[in-house]
């Protein structure tokens, strides 16, 4: 390609960055507006700007080419495929719900309000770029955009000790693990001589016959896992998670438990399958480097879900309980990745879509009910079923869906994962996951029990605003709807792999 053609081509492919460009513009406008107008009066303005930016960022998807073609763009930095296009609206929803929750939350002081909305927008850009990136450097930049800004977001309650402690823990852990991941990237670059994933995957196939190269690749793969499992909050890199989730403002917790976690899973799909697995036929993959990494992931998955489900049982703080539950869900998601099959990958993406609504919903209820340390205790929920039945029913729907009971979407997600695992005849993992479902029922039901079965205490529930109710309805519709009819979503994930 001549230089001229190269430049023209790159300029053309800028259009494929449409969503991110719209979002960046929105974020910058927000920042300027925040300086220009008195921040303490216009929370609504920032909220609307944030949500509008997220909404508008999806408009380019209507005019841009359909994602079926797997178009690489910007000199192979990014790829335009179903996976990346699926995650753009996905993260937009995460960001939008978070911004709405921040609006209603009293935890974040007015002076930090527009900054937190700005941070959410930029992290969303980072996550969108991350799921589209196909170049190690770009991946790292996007990964850190997401990472560093989420450390800030956790610590946004400047005067709150818990928030500060959480941010510090998160940053120390995060810096350490992403440093190790970067080291892994450098090793891969050393072996393959390129940072493009497609180039690396070709190189991996050819060089992994030599033992010393293979050792390097295996080391780098393990280093990748450190960074990715940290972000996904899976065993053994999950210890930060309960503390950070508890300390962070609740809307931020909701954001972290879905956004960066799902981004990490998308990245595992992006990195591990092209690099360390070769496709065999239409459906199946085999490992490329000789290391049986699916077995490692299977073990991690089993330990993650079992440990965290057991750890969640004695919790009395709802946020902490949901933190453990979200770690356990990382364990469920890993089930799909160990299958080395397209079916497994489809199951993971499907589960993420379901998890998005139900987990955001559960955290949304926690956020709506207050944001004081007292309101996060389970006993605060006593008698909620009498006082505000709507919120209690919504919470019940989300929790039942998290357990994986029909007719809610979580059940279908679980079925997808079971189907994937059993199709590869990994029965033990299916049995472990099934028994974990039962364990998880017990602690989720502690909240339900408090809401409906136990007599009311003198808790003072805040009035539930119309906006909050609409938000809960908006999250309940897919949580229920995808449990009854999920053919459209099944089709979309079917296109991906």
């Amino acid at each position: 390609m001549t230089t001229e053609a190269f430049i023209v081509d790159n300029i053309r492919s800028l259009s494929l960055l449409g969503p991110e460009i719209v979002l960046s513009t929105g974020a910058l406008l927000l920042l300027i507006t925040g300086i220009a107008i008195p921040y303490w009066r216009y929370r609504m303005v920032f909220t609307l700007m944030g949500v509008a930016a997220l909404g508008l960022s999806l408009l380019p998807l209507m005019v841009l080419p359909s994602p079926g073609g797997n178009i690489p763009y910007l000199s192979n930095l990014f790829i335009w495929d179903w996976l990346s296009c699926f995650f753009k609206p996905f993260f937009a929803v995460v960001g939008g719900v978070t911004i709405i929750l921040i609006y209603g939350s009293k935890e974040i002081e007015d002076q930090y309000y527009h900054e937190s909305v700005f941070l959410v927008l930029v992290i969303t850009i980072g996550m969108m770029l991350l799921t589209a990136a196909t170049d190690l450097l770009m991946i790292y930049v996007a990964f850190e955009t997401m990472g560093i800004l989420s450390y800030l977001l956790v610590g946004i309650k400047a005067r709150d000790l818990r928030s500060g402690e959480a941010a510090l823990k998160y940053i120390l852990y995060g810096a350490f693990t992403s440093g190790i991941m970067l080291f892994g990237f450098s090793l891969v670059f050393g072996v393959a001589g390129t940072t493009e994933l497609s180039g690396i995957s070709q190189a991996v196939a050819s060089v992994s016959v030599q033992p010393h190269n293979r050792l390097l690749l295996i080391t780098s793969m393990l280093f990748f896992l450190v960074g990715l499992l940290f972000k996904a909050a899976s065993f053994p890199f999950h210890f930060w998670c309960p503390d950070v989730y508890e300390g962070a403002p609740t809307p931020v917790t909701a954001f972290l438990s879905v956004g960066p976690k799902c981004a990490a899973f998308a990245l595992i799909i992006r990195l591990f399958y092209p690099l360390f697995a070769t496709r065999e036929g239409n459906e199946l993959y085999t490992t490329a480097t000789g290391l049986d990494w699916p077995a490692i992931l299977a073990l991690i998955s089993a330990v993650t879900m079992t440990w965290e489900n057991l750890a969640a049982i004695p919790q009395t703080n709802v946020k902490r309980l949901l933190a453990y539950s979200s770690i356990a869900h990382a364990g469920y998601l890993l089930m799909g990745l160990v299958c080395l099959s397209s079916l497994g990958l489809r199951a993971v993406v499907f589960y993420m879509a379901v998890y998005l609504f139900m987990n955001l919903g559960a955290f949304a209820v926690v956020a709506i009910l207050g944001g004081t340390a007292e309101s996060e205790e389970i006993h605060f929920y006593r008698g909620l079923g009498n006082q505000s039945p709507f919120v209690a029913v919504a919470m019940t729907v989300f929790l039942f869906s998290l357990v994986g009971l029909p007719p809610f979407a979580g059940f279908v997600g679980k079925v997808y994962l079971f189907v994937a695992v059993i199709s590869r005849e990994i029965y033990w993992l299916a049995v472990v996951a099934a028994l974990n479902t039962v364990v998880s029922l017990y602690y989720y039901m502690r909240i339900v029990k408090a809401m409906f079965l136990e007599p009311a205490t003198e808790s003072h529930y805040p009035d539930i605003s119309l906006g909050s109710q609409l938000l809960l309805i908006a999250l309940m519709i897919p949580t229920f709807g995808l449990g009854v009819y999920w053919q459209p979503l099944a089709q979309i994930v079917g296109f991906m792999f």
Binding site: F400, L405, P406, V438, Q491
Partner: protein, 500 residues
Amino acid sequence: MFAEHLLSWIIFSPLVGAVAILFVPKRLPNLMKTLALISTAIPLWWVAQLYNQFDPADAAFQYVERAPWIKAFNISYSVGIDGISILMVLLTAMLSFLCIVASWNIRQHVRGYFALFLLLDTSMMGVFCALDFFLFYVFWELMLLPMYFLIGIWGGPKKEYAAIKFFLFTLVGSVLMLIVMVVFFFGSAEPTTGLHSFDLMILADQSMHQSLLLNTTIRWLCYFALLINFCIKIPVVPLHTWLPDAHVEAPTAVSVILAGVLLKMGAYGILRISYPLLPDMAFVFAPYVALFGVISIIYGALCAMAQQDLKKLIAYSSISHMGFVVLGISVFTNTTAINGAVLQMFNHGTVTAMLFLLVGVIYDRAHHRIIDGFGGLAKTMPIYAGYTGLAFFAALGLPGLSSFISEALVLIGSFQQYRVYTITATSGIVLTAGYFLWTMQRVFLGPVKEQYAGLPEINLREVFTLTPLALIVVLLGFYPMPVLDLIGTSLKHTVDLVLR
């Protein structure tokens, strides 16, 4: 149009009623109750029509409806009934209707109670009609949610414990069934398209089973997992411990449904899922299942004898009576025993429903259920004593009342194959007679306790709920053929499947 979708109407009309109830203003509790009554009465009427038009000579499923639901997994909404299902649907429709009447004095959270009750009704109907494994599973699990709240909110003092125990036990079984369901999905394929399927007809066709399901170990494990699930539901000793707790804490109507319908689902599941899908394993497991059936008969009876709480007594007697069902369905040398077992399912449904309703009557008046706390009630409440006497004699298997015939059929049928078991099981009948008569004596005979001298007699609404059941008990005691005719062909078909 209507006749083609009759089953769907029957399944979902309670659900429609439940949704309607949610929109009734809070100050009109009676409207909610009336709506609930209507939305169980109409399906009862339809089921009666179904019963009239049903052709018992045909072993195939009737009133079949099929519609694709989720193409990605080849899941279809398919429902249909054969002789076994129509009997269960009949029982469900009848008991649901009577339970709504029996729940008329619910005052706390009326809306929630009736909405959940109707949801429960829908899920039970769905279980008995589903012909797609996935659909069956969805209805099976859907039942847990209303049941948890019905026990947990409207139950007795230890309701939270009982509710979560019920939930956890049942969920252990269901997740095992989920795994089996997925194994079957991959283990068989449709003949024409080669697609995997959840359709029970296709899964039952042994020639469709592919490599995964040809492995004997896998088949063994699958059958075992299914058995655990269904035995928890029946419940078979030693998986029964949730039942006494759930019964004692549940409100009357919920106990009725629990004992009358939910327990039958276990046995129904074995007949509908386990036997057709894994007939060879059914044959292998049958002697052990029969053994546990006999253990349930004896153990349940002995436990019942030791109880002080009337509801607990009936709960243990249910375990004992369901033991006969378990014993009966494990016999393949003749169809007598299995016919008796399914008849026993129906009879136990009606008799236990009566028993729980009767306990509810006395509990509403005396506010306790301790057997030794009463005495001489026959003098203060003669009509009540009459109904209770009928129910007790039916439960202990007095000739001329329905349970006698079903238990006798089971014992006659099983004698050929399991001689020792049958003789042991017969002693269970003696024990049953023992504890029912002893209870009768302590509650109704002897001197009248003065604090209960003025107990009001059973009222008209309560008589209305009991009389239809009492009539059925007497009628089937003399002439069981209406039921036996209904189920005979389907059961013969099932036994043939296993023996083939």
